[in-house]
Symmetry: C2
Subunit: 344 residues, 2 copies
Amino acid sequence: MTDTAPRPTLEAVAARAGVSRATVSRVVNGGDGVREALVTRVRRAVEELGYVPNQAARSLVTRRHDAVAVVIAEPETRVFADPFFALQLRGISKELTAHDNQLVLLLTEGRDDHVRVGRYLAGGHVDGALVFSLHLDDPLPGLIQHAGVPTVFGGRPGWSESGGDAVFVDSDNRGGAREAVRHLVGLGRSRVAHITGPLDQTSAADRLEGFRDVMPDADPRLVEESDFTPAGGERAMRELLDRRPDVDAVFAANDLSAAGALRVLRERGRRVPEDVAVIGFDDMLPVAEQTDPPLTTVRQDIEGMGRLMARLLLDRLGHRTAEGAEGAPSSVVLPTTLVRRASA
Amino acid sequence: MTDTAPRPTLEAVAARAGVSRATVSRVVNGGDGVREALVTRVRRAVEELGYVPNQAARSLVTRRHDAVAVVIAEPETRVFADPFFALQLRGISKELTAHDNQLVLLLTEGRDDHVRVGRYLAGGHVDGALVFSLHLDDPLPGLIQHAGVPTVFGGRPGWSESGGDAVFVDSDNRGGAREAVRHLVGLGRSRVAHITGPLDQTSAADRLEGFRDVMPDADPRLVEESDFTPAGGERAMRELLDRRPDVDAVFAANDLSAAGALRVLRERGRRVPEDVAVIGFDDMLPVAEQTDPPLTTVRQDIEGMGRLMARLLLDRLGHRTAEGAEGAPSSVVLPTTLVRRASA
DNA sequence: ATGAAAGCGCTAACAC
DNA sequence: GTGTTAGCGCTTTCAT
């Protein structure tokens, strides 16, 4: 098939431009300290020959790869039914591309994969890692710390030990939850229920905290643990209605479970928002805009989180992406905004 | 921070095991033609030192990277609101991982990115590429062909010229559409409408073909072009109802637009499926299971498509993944299945 | 079956 | 400023 035409080397470009390899190398890498005339000549030779640097040869000597691993640890299919990671990836990709870095995607499911990922990261194939680790008991962060690769986490890692120095980017889950619940209270609702996410995930735990911040004395029967799925939302809503038929508002930890709750409310003859006001979380458009009624929810800037993660990592790798603020970059918590639609 | 402990080299392992670098290299690469005793000794040394081969050095001489690029060209945000790519990626990742290949993700939006991707692929940084190119006028396939990298496409590429030799994996869009429409006909419906996707995408075009296969004489007013979005589905459904109030079934080109259609039907007081039966396409669970009523739809094995794409590419790269069928691998069209829920 | 040695293409001291 | 040179860590003939 494709005749692998031997790609031109530095040597070839040097010959063509009538200079040494070193000069070509300098030009290719920015051209500082090379006379304008030569720079132009070399550039043209590069152009004419269609020269592309051999990244392997370069890495071999620089020990840099201009590549970053993105590790998504998600055993559950559910997460893939959700555009969350896709959006983060998009943000990450944009930022990495802008700084000429490659994105190596590592998807894991299960322990075996953890070992594999650990080895890969420790193997020094990439300059850094962006890691999504959503569960409290996830061994991955530990493995990565062990691998000694500069890392930024997506979402607050849920580990207690030595977590102090972990750099992460997260949404203000707690603040967003507070805002949602306050909005419900502002609507005059006093019997506000909360359908939680899986509480071994920090995002779900933080949203529950936010709920409690505003409703510190809530009847425990107004809180039902669920799992971020529509079916889970349905189940939880039934439970809540059975226990407290007088409930007049629901804050669901994500849009999917809110959609489930909405269905049960309709089925039980409750009008939304007249009888029961409902708020979700995420502002996952294909869900939030399609429910009946459309869902009031807490929006987080998912793509922005991705961008920021990449930027933080590149900073840490010495890429000084923008403002020269080098030094130990620290974690960032991004604000959320309440999006009002018809459900509350 | 992390003290970059100099990672052990082949040299170090050789010294430790009391053999030459060449021998260690042989062992690391399979150990053929090396005495058992030595193999064991080397293996232990590798273990003890925690040796991991330097991929850059290896690539430099072998000209292989054990890495594959996945190119997703999608200017539209919509696609990211859809778990389609995430699932394909998962399938791809599994297969690549199983064969020790890395996945380099290239996301593009817009012409500038095309150039960048073209250069990257031509640069010989990866052994092959998996490309999702969904639009008829997409210049990407051309660029890639030009780059001379072994490639497998996701979805039938929509280019006319020289497309004969392109290897791709696709769902049986046409067959699935036929099955859906036949099902509607089998239900006794005779005024079956079709809400298409954007017809510059082969998947949408093929589904329309399938519709026409079964309804060759359909009133043109029963076909309305749309765009795979819920809002587009609503608009199309309104149009159809205005033109043909007697419509008794709708085949929508995807679940999202079917969901939009469902809303309009309810709003107009049509009962589903009694008055109008509705079928979607994709079996995108968070949508299809959450509509009211739940959507009958055509399922495609998205993850399977991803796996297969990777397998085909690896075959082509000489990885002989399973059955030794080497030689020119050819395109594959995967079957679809009708999933019956309540809407038809 | 094993070792010695020659590069792969590039960057980075170091000379000039 | 520009050229010379010595490797980066590995695979792969070619001897032995």
